[in-house]
């Protein structure tokens, strides 16, 4: 087999060409490839999973509508994340303008607090909550970089901000998260001692 391995980018381009020719099977495949990634980012920006799912759906519809305007110069992932994040940001902005408070929401929060006060929840859950509370601009950069593990330059393209700004925002987000999770991280580290002990002391 001499055939070179198809990279992620190549797969995206191949699917996108098929979609431009009206291939719905390719579109379905594309949805399967990206729905989880988008949901992981957008779901952490909006409060309810239902809303997030609507936004993800809307993102794919936009992709379909504007399929002909995709020029194969950037990564497809950059394009779709840009669309999705813009839609999510619009949603957040809309909500801030109306500022509605849902009674069910408040009760839900109360219940969560109660549980948290009793049983210390696991570290990933605490981190999830902390990410949700990050300021918007740090959150998007942090999620794209550390959760989706995209390279810095792609994050910069998606958010349409300079590379240096992305780096500083990610750094800042990590610092904020560490500050918030400090007590829990320390107990976590104490359990797995190997990371704490320097080589010289062993």
């Amino acid at each position: 087999m001499v055939e070179a391995k198809e990279t992620e980018k190549d797969i995206d381009y191949r699917l996108m060409r098929a979609i431009q020719n009206g291939d719905m099977v390719a579109f379905n495949e594309m949805v399967d490839r990206y729905k989880k990634r988008l949901m992981n980012v957008i779901g952490r920006m909006l409060s309810s999973p239902d809303e997030a799912e609507d936004i993800v759906q809307e993102t794919f519809v936009r992709v379909y509508q504007h399929r002909q305007s995709f020029n194969f110069q950037h990564c497809f992932s950059t394009w779709i994340y840009t669309i999705g994040l813009n839609l999510a940001r619009n949603e957040l902005r809309k909500r801030r303008r109306f500022k509605h408070y849902d009674i069910d929401d408040m009760q839900g929060n109360e219940a969560e607090f109660a549980i948290e006060a009793k049983v210390p929840s696991r570290l990933p859950q605490v981190l999830d909550a902390a990410i949700k509370n990050l300021p918007n601009k740090y959150r998007a950069a942090f999620m794209l970089r550390d959760l989706q593990e995209l390279p810095y330059d792609e994050v910069a393209k998606i958010l349409n901000i300079p590379l240096g700004t992305v780096k500083s925002r990610v750094n800042r987000a990590r610092m904020i998260l560490r500050e918030k999770l400090k007590p829990r991280l320390e107990s976590h580290n104490a359990l797995s001692k190997s990371t704490l002990l320097p080589v010289s002391l062993l």
């Binding site: 719905m24 579109f27 379905n28 949805v31 399967d32 729905k35 989880k36 949901m39 992981n40 779901g43 952490r44 999973p49 997030a52 799912e53 993800v56 759906q57 794919f60 519809v61 379909y64 509508q65 570290l123 990933p124 981190l127 999830d128 550390d146 959760l147 593990e149 810095y152 780096k167 990610v170 750094n171 990590r174 610092m175 998260l177 560490r178 999770l181 400090k182 991280l185 320390e186 976590h188 580290n189 797995s192 990371t195 704490l196 320097p198 080589v199 010289s200």
Partner: protein
């Protein structure tokens, strides 16, 4: 390097994003400073936890619902490509009416003028009608959007021209069939197209051009000789 500076680079160091010299300086510092080492451990477990964060569940029927929606989108697209109106055409009579009225008035004035000229020469009317035609000047159509305006393809130009041709034919026929008594004064002529105008059609200001030929000077009594 001092602790303060080391700490500003620490998270990047833990995610392995630093270049050679800086990385070396930090690892040297970490070997000697317990405080910074503790912080390093924090960042490492933070990065690890972030990678392990559970995926947010997505509904089972997500794909089906999405594809349904896209199918509807596709349908709408093919409809608009076939130039079928999506909704009932909205004809703004406030825009159309003045054009029609001016056209009629201009026509009427010309015909009145014609009447006075042709009063004595009734055979002349036939030759007028045969050679008359309409000129059309496109007007702004408020119902027309930008994307429609771009449609200057030959096909659409031709269809517009055809349409105008048909309308002028109808007007001319009307003139021919109307018995125009030499004594009649002001009269109205108008034509309506067979099918309603598509909503993406331009509006035209229509002016009739009437060619007048001098009929041979024949006294009234000898008309029957023709």
């Amino acid at each position: 390097m001092r602790c303060r500076k080391v700490r500003s680079y620490l998270s990047a160091y833990c995610s392995d994003e630093l270049g050679g010299r800086r990385k070396l300086a930090i690892s040297e510092h970490l070997a000697t400073c317990a405080e910074c080492r503790r912080e390093e451990a924090d960042y490492r477990s933070l990065a690890k936890t972030a990678r392990q964060l559970s995926a947010i569940n997505i509904a089972e029927d997500f794909n089906t619902r999405l594809l349904d929606r896209v199918a509807r989108e596709r349908f709408a697209e093919t409809r608009s490509k076939a130039y079928l109106p999506r909704k009932a055409p909205v004809v703004r009579w406030t825009v159309v009416a003045p054009a029609v009225v001016t056209a009629c008035l201009v026509f009427a004035f010309i015909m009145v003028g014609l009447q006075t000229v042709l009063d004595d020469y009734s055979p002349g009317i036939a030759s007028v009608a045969n050679d008359s035609y309409l000129t059309a000047q496109p007007m702004n159509n408020p119902n027309m959007t930008n994307s429609m305006q771009k449609d200057w393809s030959l096909a659409s130009q031709m269809s517009r021209a055809n349409r105008l041709d048909r309308m002028s034919q109808r007007i001319v026929n009307r003139i021919r069939t109307t018995s125009m008594a030499p004594t009649s004064g002001l009269f109205n002529v108008s034509a309506r197209a067979n099918q309603p105008a598509p909503w993406n059609q331009t509006y035209y200001r229509v002016r009739p051009v009437v060619r007048i030929y001098q009929a041979p000077d024949i006294p009234k009594g000898e008309e029957t000789a023709y």
